[in-house]
């Protein structure tokens, strides 16, 4: 592909040997396009950081290749790769001040001093830290250190910027700020960002595309809307946002639920007549008040803008409905009350398992 920034072809990574072998990556193939904000999303231990380290060059693949542009860089040492990393721990050099930290990569590349200074000034302006050039990293707050780490990694104008859970050490408010900041920087520099996170909300709000990983395998690659609305399997559906999972059996092009209700689905996903299937419905796609389904209210949880209502169907299957909280704050559903509800048309998906 001409517009590929990074490509992994059947990349595998194994640690250890013999009986204690750990397969961190299994035959992963992936193309990350030039200029996109790509997120590797998954729980800890899913192999997302390993994949990042293969691209950075800190690890070599056990088999398969990593391409940058169209060059095979699988065996290239990290200091030769035009790729820079923002580390989870920031890894700022404590013996250098902010300007020296930001200029480190340029100096190592043999840029003349004047050029380094000019570029460092521009980078510090980009992350709004001009006033801190002479400070040591230890004298900065977490958010400021984060921005220094960003400026340092962006300064040498890498082809790809790798970000290893860079926001996980920040508090919520700062994290939201930095999310916007990262998007802005990516937009302004046009550099391909590969972002690793276990936070699905972060992934949804920031990414152009997301790769969902588990156990060293990429399960699904797609835009945030696609991943959220059309998850390929139960794990993706469960991991991204909240989901109601319902068990059922196909019957005449529809699905018979455990509670005995028959509901329509858009696409049976090739499931044979009478086969057991798993259904997914997002809580915001559940409408309370009218419909063919019935549930007993077991709990309501107030979240501010939203209220979650937990319903139990006849077979004890739990369904969560998300509603906008009314001005009074009380949705008026008492515990134990039986209500009618329905799923929004087209919202029920049959999952591959």
């Amino acid at each position: 592909m001409a517009d590929a920034a990074v490509e992994a072809r059947s990349a595998s990574k194994e640690y250890g040997s013999g009986d204690r072998i750990v397969r961190a990556l299994r035959d992963v193939s992936l193309t990350i396009r030039k200029g996109e904000f790509f997120t590797l999303l998954g729980p800890s231990g899913c192999g997302k950081t390993t994949l990042l380290r293969l691209i950075a060059g800190f690890e070599m693949p056990t088999s398969g290749t990593i391409l940058l542009g169209n060059r095979d860089i699988s065996r290239m040492p990290p200091y030769q790769r035009p790729v820079n990393t923002v580390f989870q721990s920031y890894a700022l050099f404590p013996h250098l001040d902010v300007a020296e930290n930001v200029g480190f990569g340029l100096t190592m590349r043999g840029q003349p001093k004047a050029e380094v200074e000019r570029r460092v000034a521009r980078m510090l302006a980009l992350v709004k830290l001009e006033a801190f050039a002479g400070r040591k990293p230890q004298q900065l707050s977490g958010g400021q250190q984060q921005r220094v780490a960003l400026a340092r990694a962006l300064a040498p104008s890498p082809e790809v910027l790798l970000l290893d859970e860079p926001l996980s050490a920040l508090d919520l408010k700062l994290r939201k700020e930095m999310q916007l900041e990262l998007k802005r920087l990516q937009h302004e520099t046009g550099i391909t960002f590969v972002f690793v996170t276990h936070d699905q909300e972060e992934a949804l709000t920031m990414s152009d595309r997301i790769g969902v990983m588990r156990d060293g395998v990429i399960l699904q690659v797609g835009g945030p809307r696609e991943i959220y609305n059309r998850p390929v399997n139960r794990f993706v559906a469960d991991f991204i946002g909240e989901t109601n999972i319902l068990a059922g059996r196909t019957e005449a092009g529809c699905v018979r639920l455990g509670s005995g209700d028959l509901i329509a689905v858009d696409n049976l996903n090739g499931a044979a007549e009478g086969a057991a299937v798993t259904l997914a419905v997002r809580p915001e796609q559940v409408r309370i008040g009218a419909g063919p389904l019935q549930g007993r209210v077991s709990n309501t949880v107030y979240f501010g803008t939203d209220t979650h209502c937990h319903l139990r169907m006849a077979d004890d299957t739990e369904v969560v409905a998300r509603m906008q909280s009314p001005p009074s704050g009380d949705v008026g559903l008492g515990e134990g009350a039986t209500v009618a509800f329905d799923f929004v048309a087209g919202a029920v998906r049959v999952l591959e398992d």
Partner: protein, 298 residues
């Protein structure tokens, strides 16, 4: 927290009196005697005559001709100073060259193994210095282990004369003081954040540059501490140069001993001791400056 009342402060002083007495008798007292002796005349056979003179200080650097009183530089003394400083600096460099990879190796072992490696490093401390020095002698003498092995392997035809040379002194001192270099280096490297090495690689620094630009500057306090711990006792070394260097290759320590013994010039010995002390103090001052500027910066 309550501020100490005057009475507890006074109790504190009273309680530290034994320590203060010990310090006065054990450290300050002898030093004072050395300072006083350095400004007295030597007695005929030994001891001092209580007449004030700066002759001893003069004799450190110059010598008077016995017959016509012409003054010339005391080349022999300066040679000894120079050799002492040279051998001490070389010892420091050698122990660093061997000690740094050793400390690095230990610090990168799994946590459970490190104690064992550190223990191995400190084993030589359990044996008397004299015995260890004789052991070195046994290895490097003409019919010793090293020469016999090299001749047996056909590398050399004749034994190499190592014993009673500066090289022998250097080997002996590097061996004796190596643990003093390894331990502070280990402490510094143990605190080092190894993720910074990856950050260095990531930012286009080769292995050599990561070592020069990232690792060494950060573990510098450990390097300085180890260097001081090796340099200071090397400079005053007495047993090692005496045994491995023979009689000819004296260092300051041996020369001072000579003045109090056969030389029968206690004031000169005292003056030389003070000069040794001054060199050590300069080294310590340099250490304090290097480490405190580090702390100021961050």
């Amino acid at each position: 927290m309550s501020a100490p009342t005057p009475s507890t402060a006074r109790t504190g002083w009273i309680l530290s009196i034994p320590a203060l007495i010990l310090l006065a008798l054990g450290a300050s007292g002898p030093l004072l005697i050395v300072v006083v002796y350095a400004f007295l005349e030597p007695g005929e056979y030994s001891g001092v005559v209580w007449n004030f003179t700066t002759e001893a200080w003069f004799r450190v650097f110059f010598e008077r001709d016995i017959f016509d009183d012409t003054v010339s530089m005391a080349d022999a003394h300066l040679t000894i100073f120079w050799r002492s400083v040279k051998l001490s600096v070389l010892t420091t460099l050698i122990t660093f060259a061997i000690g740094f990879p050793t400390a690095w190796f230990i610090a990168t072992r799994p946590a459970g193994q490190r104690a064992l490696w550190l223990f191995l490093i400190t084993i030589p401390f359990w044996t008397n210095l004299l015995i260890r020095t004789f052991a070195i002698m046994e290895v490097i003498r003409n019919q010793g282990l090293l020469n016999t092995a090299l001749i047996g392997l056909g590398v050399i035809g004749e034994p190499i004369q190592i014993l009673y040379t500066d090289t022998a002194v250097l080997i002996g001192m590097a061996y004796v003081y190596l643990p003093l270099m390894v331990l502070p280096l280990y402490a510094a490297i143990d605190r080092f954040d190894f993720r910074l090495v990856e950050a260095g690689y990531d930012l286009y620094a080769t292995r050599w540059r990561v070592l020069r630009r990232v690792i060494l500057p950060i573990v510098k306090p450990g390097i300085v501490a180890g260097s001081i711990l090796v340099f200071v006792p090397s400079l005053g070394a007495y047993v090692t140069p005496r045994i491995l260097g023979g009689g000819k290759n004296m260092m300051i320590g041996n020369f001072i001993e000579l003045q109090f013994g056969q030389g029968r010039n206690w004031p000169l010995g005292a003056a030389l001791s003070l000069i040794l002390l001054a060199i050590v103090l300069v080294a310590l001052l340099a250490y304090v400056r290097v480490t405190s500027s580090d702390r100021q910066d961050g």
